[in-house]
C-alpha cells in the first residue's frame, strides 16, 4: 500500500472523520476489502447499534479511552422501539423517536455502517463485505430476527403482512394501514409464544390500537390471537385497562400457524380461520442471524447462553453477547435490560483487556406501558448475583394506571436515550 493510500484510508477510518469519510466507509464496497482498518492497539468491535450495542460501545470508551471501539451497524439512525406503539395510535411521531449516532462519535466510537457477515472466533475477525476487521474482544448485540418459517405463507407475504416489531419503516406503514382501514373493519393482532422481544409490548399495542379505534373508528373491532395461555406481563393491570375498550376480542391460547394475504385470513393451530382487514402478525423470534451463523446460540437454536457476570459466550471465548439475543437469564428482553447489559459488558471487557478482574454488576429493569393516550402502568425488577448467576430480588408493579406514571415514563425515556447514545 502506498503512503498516500494508507493516509487516505486512515483518514477515512478516524473517529474524527466527517460525514463524507463515514459515507465512504459505509457505502463503498471497495473500502471493505481485506483488513480494511488494520488494528494498531487494543480493539473492541461491537456488532449492532441498538439499546445494548450502542450502550456497550459508548461505555467501553468511558471506561478506557485507550481502547479503540468500532461499532458495526448498517442503519444510520437509531429508532426507539419503546414508545413506538404510540406511533400507531398517533400519540407520538416516529420522528420524535429517531436519533443519530453523533453522541457516540463524540465519545470516540468509530461507526461502520455495514452488515457484519460472519464471525471467525479463532482468528478474532468479523467479516464485512469482502473484507474483515480484527478484534481483541467482540461484543455481539444483534437483537432478534424472525422465524418466518414458523408461519406458513408469511415469508412470501412479508411486504403486506407487517410485524412492526423493529421500530422504523414498518411502524409507519402499519400506522397507515390502521388509519386507512374503514370504520367497521377488523384489525387482527397476533402474539407469538414466549420468548420474544418486549414481553408487555404486544399488550401495550393492543391498548394503543383499541384506543385509536374507539376514538376514530367506533364500529371497528380488534381481535387478539395470543399463542400464550394468558397475558404474558403486567397481567392484572392490562386486564383492568382493557375494561375501557369493549372493542377488544382477546383470544388466549390461539397460536397462528398460517397466513393467506390474498384471502386476508390467518389460521390458528386448531384450524380456526380468522378474517382480517388489517393484520399485524408478530412472528416467533430468535437471536439475530449473525448469532445463529456464528454458533453462539444454544441447543434451542434460538438464544445465546452467556456468563452472567461478563456476558462472554459460553461457546466462544472472547465473544460477548448482550441484549435481546441472550437467553437463560431471569430478565425480560427489554430496552432497560439491554442498556444495563451494555454497561455491565463494557465494564467486563475493559477490565479483561486491562488484565483486571471484572466487577460483579447485577442488571435492573424498569418498564412502562401506555394503556391510553395519557395513562401508563409500570413494572420494576431488580436483581442480584448469587453463585455467579443473576437472581431476581424483587418485582414491583404500579397499583394502577395513571398520568403520573406516564410522566415518569417520559422522564425515563429522556435519561435512558442519553445513556444509550451519549
Amino acid at each position: 500500500m502506498s503512503a498516500v493510500a494508507a493516509l487516505t484510508r486512515r483518514r477515512l477510518l478516524t473517529g474524527a472523520a466527517g460525514t463524507a469519510g463515514l459515507t465512504a466507509l459505509g457505502g463503498c464496497a471497495a473500502s471493505t476489502k481485506g483488513d480494511f482498518a488494520p488494528k494498531s492497539g487494543r480493539r473492541v468491535v461491537v456488532i449492532g447499534g441498538g439499546w445494548a450495542g450502542a450502550t456497550a460501545a459508548r461505555y467501553v470508551r468511558l471506561h478506557d479511552p485507550g481502547i479503540e471501539v468500532m461499532l458495526v451497524e448498517p442503519s444510520r439512525q437509531f429508532v426507539s422501539c419503546p414508545f413506538s406503539n404510540l406511533v400507531l395510535s398517533g400519540v407520538r411521531t416516529l420522528d420524535s423517536l429517531t436519533f443519530d449516532y453523533a453522541g457516540l462519535r463524540r465519545g470516540g466510537v468509530r461507526l461502520v455502517h455495514e452488515t457484519a457477515g460472519a464471525i471467525d472466533p479463532a482468528a478474532r475477525r468479523v467479516r464485512l463485505g469482502e473484507g474483515y476487521l480484527e478484534y481483541d474482544r467482540l461484543i455481539v448485540a444483534p437483537g432478534v430476527d424472525f422465524q418466518w418459517e414458523q408461519v406458513e405463507g408469511l415469508a412470501a407475504a412479508q411486504d403486506r403482512v407487517l410485524h412492526a416489531w423493529k421500530a422504523g419503516p414498518q411502524t409507519a406503514r402499519l400506522a397507515r394501514q390502521l388509519h386507512t382501514m374503514q370504520d367497521g373493519g377488523v384489525f387482527v393482532l397476533t402474539i407469538p409464544p414466549v420468548a420474544y422481544r418486549c414481553p408487555p409490548g404486544p399488550y401495550e399495542r393492543v391498548c394503543q390500537v383499541a384506543w385509536y379505534l374507539k376514538t376514530q373508528k367506533p364500529r371497528a373491532k380488534l381481535i387478539v390471537l395470543d399463542a400464550n395461555p394468558n397475558i404474558v406481563s403486567k397481567t392484572a393491570l392490562f386486564r383492568a385497562a382493557w375494561q375501557a375498550y369493549p372493542n377488544i376480542d382477546y383470544r388466549p391460547g390461539n397460536k397462528v400457524v398460517k397466513v393467506d394475504a390474498g384471502a386476508r385470513e390467518v389460521t390458528t393451530e386448531v384450524g380456526e380461520r380468522v378474517r382480517y382487514d388489517v393484520v399485524n402478525l408478530i412472528p416467533p423470534q430468535r437471536a439475530g442471524a449473525i448469532a445463529v451463523q456464528a454458533d453462539l446460540v444454544g441447543a434451542d437454536k434460538r438464544w445465546c447462553e452467556v456468563n452472567h457476570v461478563t456476558y462472554e459466550s459460553v461457546k466462544h471465548p472472547g465473544v460477548h453477547v448482550i441484549g435481546d439475543a441472550t437467553g437463560g437469564l431471569p430478565v425480560p428482553k427489554s430496552g432497560n435490560v439491554a442498556n444495563a447489559m451494555g454497561k455491565i459488558c463494557a465494564s467486563a471487557v475493559a477490565h479483561l483487556l486491562g488484565g483486571r478482574t471484572p466487577p460483579v454488576m447485577p442488571p435492573g429493569n424498569t418498564c412502562y406501558s401506555w394503556v391510553s393516550d395519557r395513562e401508563a402502568i409500570a413494572v420494576v425488577n431488580v436483581y442480584k448475583i448469587e453463585g455467579g448467576k443473576v437472581v431476581q430480588i424483587e418485582q414491583k408493579l404500579t397499583r394502577g394506571q395513571s398520568a403520573a406514571v406516564a410522566r415518569n415514563s417520559l422522564g425515563w425515556a429522556q435519561s435512558i436515550w442519553g445513556d444509550v447514545l451519549g
Partner: protein, 207 residues
C-alpha cells in the same frame, strides 16, 4: 536547515517524548473516568433513569450528581421501607442497599452536577421567585439549602421532580411521621396547587 526549523523539530521530539512518557505512565490498563471513585459498579444501573453520573435529563427524575451522602442514604432507606412510596424506587433502593448504600452515595457525591438544562417556563419562574419567599427561611433565597441541617439544595433540579415532591409533602405522602418534615409540610399546605409549578420553575432555573 534553518535554525527555526531545527528548533521546531527539537520541540516536536520533546513533545513526542513527553507523549510517550505519558503513554507509558498511563500503562495499558489506563483507568477511565468510571473507575475512581469507588461505587460505580454499584451505582451504574441508576443511570438508566438518573442519567450518566447522576445528571438526569428527565423532567420527573432528580439529579443525584454531587448530592451529599447522608441525604441520599436517607432517601434510599425511606424508599426501601416504603416510607417514600414509589413503584420505581422501592425495588431499586433495596438493590442499592443490598449492594452498599454508602458506596452508591459516595459515587454520586463525587460527580460534577450539571443543572437542569431542559425547558423552564420563564413567566412561571418569575412568579415562583415571589412565591419562594416562603421557602427562603430554610432553603435560602435561591434554594441552596443547608445540608448540615439536612435541608437539600433545590437549585437546578428538574421542575417536574420538584413539583411532584411538593405535592407529596403537601399530601403528607412523603415519609409520613418524619418529625424533621413536619414544618415544611405545614408550610406546603399553605401553598395553593396552582403555585407549585411556579415554585418548581423558579428553583429549577437557579444555579
Amino acid at each position: 536547515m534553518s535554525l527555526a526549523s531545527r528548533r521546531g523539530i527539537a520541540t516536536l521530539i520533546v513533545l513526542y517524548a513527553s507523549l510517550m512518557l505519558v503513554g507509558l505512565a498511563a500503562g495499558p490498563a489506563a483507568a477511565g473516568p468510571l473507575d475512581p471513585p469507588a461505587g460505580y459498579a454499584k451505582a451504574f444501573t441508576c443511570s438508566a433513569c438518573h442519567g450518566f453520573g447522576g445528571n438526569s435529563k428527565g423532567d420527573t427524575v432528580p439529579i443525584l450528581a454531587a448530592m451529599p451522602p447522608p441525604y441520599l442514604i436517607k432517601a434510599l432507606k425511606d424508599y426501601a421501607a416504603g416510607k417514600r412510596p414509589s413503584t420505581e424506587m422501592e425495588p431499586y433502593a433495596k438493590m442499592a442497599i443490598h449492594l452498599g448504600a454508602e458506596d452508591v452515595a459516595a459515587y454520586f457525591a463525587a460527580q460534577k452536577r450539571e443543572p437542569w438544562a431542559g425547558r423552564v417556563d420563564a413567566a412561571a419562574a418569575a412568579r415562583g421567585k415571589t412565591a419562594a419567599a416562603a421557602c427562603a427561611a430554610c432553603h435560602g433565597v435561591d434554594g441552596r439549602g443547608d445540608i448540615a441541617r439536612g435541608i437539600p439544595d433545590l437549585r437546578g433540579q428538574p421542575p417536574g421532580y420538584l413539583e411532584n415532591q411538593m405535592r407529596l409533602f403537601k399530601a403528607d405522602q412523603r415519609s409520613p411521621g418524619d418529625e424533621a418534615l413536619k414544618a415544611p409540610k405545614a408550610m406546603m399546605q399553605t401553598v395553593p396547587d396552582a403555585t407549585l409549578a411556579d415554585l418548581a420553575a423558579y428553583f429549577a432555573s437557579q444555579r
